[in-house]
């Protein structure tokens, strides 16, 4: 029988080591989600009770942030007209990776009560990748909190990969954006 005393230690490949580091990072990323609230529609009224003493999202480690660069989650609360969609795309592209998007209400899923408007887009997922939806018109505050906990679960199971999809299928997203808006150019007026 071969001695096990001097058997070589199991070597991890580079991918396995990377995956372990990524899992450690995922723990930190899901326990400290900073939100950027893009309050375009009526679902935004559900955020104050979720943040203050009624439901207290700070116990999950979430909090509001002032600028897109600092934030991890983009909350799109409600319908998006073509004018606000352009700003939303600028905002989304400024966020630092890994970044996640949560769509609120039926307006971001299929247009909701604005489904036949000429100025409002119907499916947000055509323009930027959405990781988690909170359905309802408007969703309950309990549903909003549930949506955030769902997002944490998705980060843990590595299913919240919208930022990777946006990078891999960038041509498809850009084509949809240009079809709706005409021209989309993220202009950086400080360094151009």
């Amino acid at each position: 029988m071969e001695s096990t005393k001097f058997s070589p230690a199991t070597r991890l490949t580079k991918e396995e080591i990377d995956r372990k580091w990524w899992e450690i990072g995922d723990y930190f990323r899901r326990s400290s989600l900073w939100m950027l609230m893009y309050c375009t529609g009526c679902c935004a009224i559900e955020l104050p009770p979720a943040m203050t003493s009624a439901y207290d999202m700070e116990r999950l480690g979430m909090g509001p942030m002032a600028t897109p660069r600092q934030a991890d989650v983009l909350l799109v609360t409600g319908y998006l007209s073509l004018k606000t969609l352009r700003r939303l795309i600028y905002t989304y592209e400024q966020m630092s990776e890994p970044k996640y998007v949560v769509g609120f209400g039926s307006c971001t899923i299929n247009g909701g009560i604005y489904h036949d408007s000429h100025a409002v887009i119907n499916q947000l997922d055509q323009y930027i990748p959405v990781d988690s939806y909170v359905a309802g018109c408007m969703p309950n505050t309990e549903a909003v909190m549930n949506g955030f906990i769902d997002l944490m679960g998705l980060i843990q199971t590595k299913k919240a990969d919208g930022w990777k999809r946006y990078r891999d299928n960038n041509a498809w997203y850009k084509k949809n954006q240009i079809d709706s808006l005409g021209v989309v150019r993220v202009k950086d007026e400080f360094h151009d």
Binding site: W34, S53, R69, D72, S96, E97, F190
Partner: protein
């Protein structure tokens, strides 16, 4: 003699300061949450925030932007290395002069100002301008009080010797001996660590968190570490100058936590001043009271 042991102790002091202030900051978030009838985050939430920021990818806005962040963090760590913790734990004995802290802390602040201006965002420039204006406002009354302390404690400006001076005569802390000066210094401390009435240069709802507006990911994580160590330096200076320093480490922890929690509690029932109100406020009452305290203590020699 300065040996490698001193340098290791000094790095330990900086690491201790970071760990202490990050934990105390997390505990204070919980205290404030209870004040507002909430549950509050975990006590180690600030660590999670910082490690999460370090695990993210970040964009750069040119090499001045990146270099300024490193300069800010390095300058603040270098300042924290000189800080005495107790009577015995001093990394560089004899070099803990008050003016060393005043000069070295400016390196970190200027690094941050340079880096924020390098991002090119106008809100960052407004934030830097407001931070420097606030500094101009609180430094004058604070310096007058500290000069009074240096005069009263026998013309020594060494922080650990001022602490020893207070411990010698039956724990006669300057908090009790110079009560008016203590009030002025508490107000200045709130301005220094950027607490609520004087929080004009962060102002998230107004100028989108001021100097930090363009930071994300690793750079923001480094700035958070820098911010924690800055608060550690300022609060421990306050403990040594007014609360008689510490004979052992537990006494230091107790005094540190009490001072920071007290300031934080005052801060969280206040609104935010405008920048001109900050300057007018500091140049009106705290400056007058500081001069009054100096006259009473130095010319009339009425020290309790």
């Amino acid at each position: 003699m300065i040996s490698i042991v001193n340098v290791l102790i000094a790095l330990g002091v900086a690491l201790f300061g970071f760990t202490l202030q990050t934990s105390v900051g997390g505990i204070n978030r919980k205290i404030i949450a209870r004040l507002q009838k909430r549950r509050g985050p975990k006590w180690y939430q600030e660590f999670l925030d910082i490690f999460k920021l370090l695990s993210k990818r970040a964009t750069s806005h040119g090499w001045i932007f990146d270099f300024g962040v490193i300069m800010a963090l390095g300058g603040i760590i270098a300042t924290a290395m000189f800080m005495p913790i107790t009577n015995n734990i001093i990394a560089f004995p004899g070099f803990d002069n008050f003016f060393i802290f005043v000069y070295l802390i400016a390196v970190g602040m200027l690094g941050m100002a340079m880096s924020a201006s390098g991002s090119g965002n106008p809100l960052a420039s407004i934030g830097v301008m407001r931070a420097l204006t606030t500094m101009l406002a609180y430094e004058v009354p604070f310096m007058i009080v500290v000069m009074t302390i240096i005069k009263v404690s026998g013309n020594t400006s060494s922080v650990s010797e001022i602490a020893l001076f207070q411990q010698m005569a039956g724990n006669n802390w300057f908090m009790i001996a110079l009560p008016i000066g203590f009030v002025v210094a508490t107000l200045s401390l709130m301005g220094m660590i950027g607490k609520k009435p004087f929080e004009t240069y962060i102002a998230p709802a107004e100028i989108a968190s001021g100097p930090m507006v363009e930071y994300g990911g690793k750079q923001l994580g480094m700035l958070f570490i820098m911010h924690e160590i800055t608060i550690f330096i300022e609060v421990s200076l306050f403990v040594h100058l007014f609360l008689g320093g510490a004979t052992n480490i537990w006494m230091f922890l107790l005094k540190y936590i009490i001072v920071y929690t007290f300031v934080n509690l005052i801060s969280n029932v206040n609104g935010r001043f405008k920048i001109d109100q900050v300057v007018v406020f500091f140049y009106k009452w705290p400056l007058f009271l500081a001069v009054l305290q100096a006259v009473i203590a130095i010319y009339f020699k009425w020290v309790i």
